[in-house]
């Protein structure tokens, strides 16, 4: 069939609107992805992970941070961890497990519009401390809780 000018216009217009939609959808994740600190998540030691995510290896132990986790985790693949704090101006909260292959599990960048409260589930390879590192007003604070793991969650 010979393509008329009308059908040509119709198909090209349809195609370009799809492309615009795809482009718009990509903007957010792309911007977001650039901030992901690969070196911090790839770090094999606690010090490297701390430097990568928080910029320093020293964090003051604080009683104002609560780390809620089970005393004994039967399944290391799913360990529910809650971090909350009464410290003001919290900018970032990170969860680390020193004995995991890669200690850094998750990090949360907070704004003033959320409470300093986060719950998530993490994997633990073996019995270890769960360390919360909190950045507030440019300073680092930490707290930890030991969790006994009876069945590891990383590797098979």
């Amino acid at each position: 069939m010979k393509q008329t000018r009308r059908t040509f216009l119709r198909t090209t217009l349809a195609a370009s609107s799809v492309a615009i939609a795809v482009g718009a959808g990509l903007i957010t994740p792309r911007n977001v992805l650039a901030a992901w600190p690969k070196n911090a998540f790839d770090a094999k030691t606690m010090d490297e992970a701390m430097t990568g995510i928080a910029g320093s290896t020293t964090a003051a132990a604080s009683n104002d941070i609560t780390v809620e986790a089970p005393d004994i985790a039967e399944n290391g693949a799913v360990v529910s961890v809650t971090i909350k704090t009464t410290i003001a101006n919290v900018e970032q909260m990170s969860v680390l497990v020193p004995k995991n292959t890669n200690p850094l599990c998750a990090s949360y960048i907070l704004t003033g519009n959320v409470d300093s409260f986060v719950t998530c589930r993490i994997k633990m390879r073996e019995t270890s401390d769960v360390v919360a590192v909190i950045k507030a007003g440019g300073k680092l604070f930490s707290a930890k809780k030991p969790v006994k793991v009876t069945l590891g969650g990383c590797g098979g």
């Binding site: 957010t28 994740p29 992805l33 992901w36 995991n100 850094l104 907070l110 409470d115 589930r121 994997k123």
Partner: protein, 108 residues
């Protein structure tokens, strides 16, 4: 790819008038890249969510940076200040393969 769409639930916390609790489950394998397939002995390639952006009425309130050590089908819970009924909570995630999903819910 995620099997099921993510689930988001948001509601005004009991005992407060303007704090919304948000609970989210994303259906994702979260392969760490360390696990071996028992049948073939091959290492299963890493496939995990790296970032989750949480928005309240179109404004970013929290960004989660996740590594492979976050559990399969990740659960996330947080609290949004200055919220009221009918507000929108939007979450979008992207994983290390560039796959992504956006989910939205309203505060009950």
């Amino acid at each position: 790819m995620a099997n099921k769409p993510m689930k988001i639930k948001a509601w005004i916390e009991e005992g407060t008038t303007n704090v919304a609790g948000v609970k989210v489950i994303v259906f994702h394998d979260m392969e760490s890249g360390l696990r071996k397939d028992k049948a073939t002995g091959q290492v299963v390639p890493a496939h995990y969510i790296t970032e989750v952006a949480c928005e309240h009425n179109g404004k970013n309130v929290m960004t989660c940076l996740w590594g492979p050590a976050v559990s399969k089908n990740p659960f996330l819970s947080f609290r949004v200040k200055n919220a009221k009924k009918g507000d929108t909570i939007k979450l979008s995630w992207v994983d290390n393969k560039g796959e992504k999903e956006i989910g939205e819910s309203t505060v009950e």
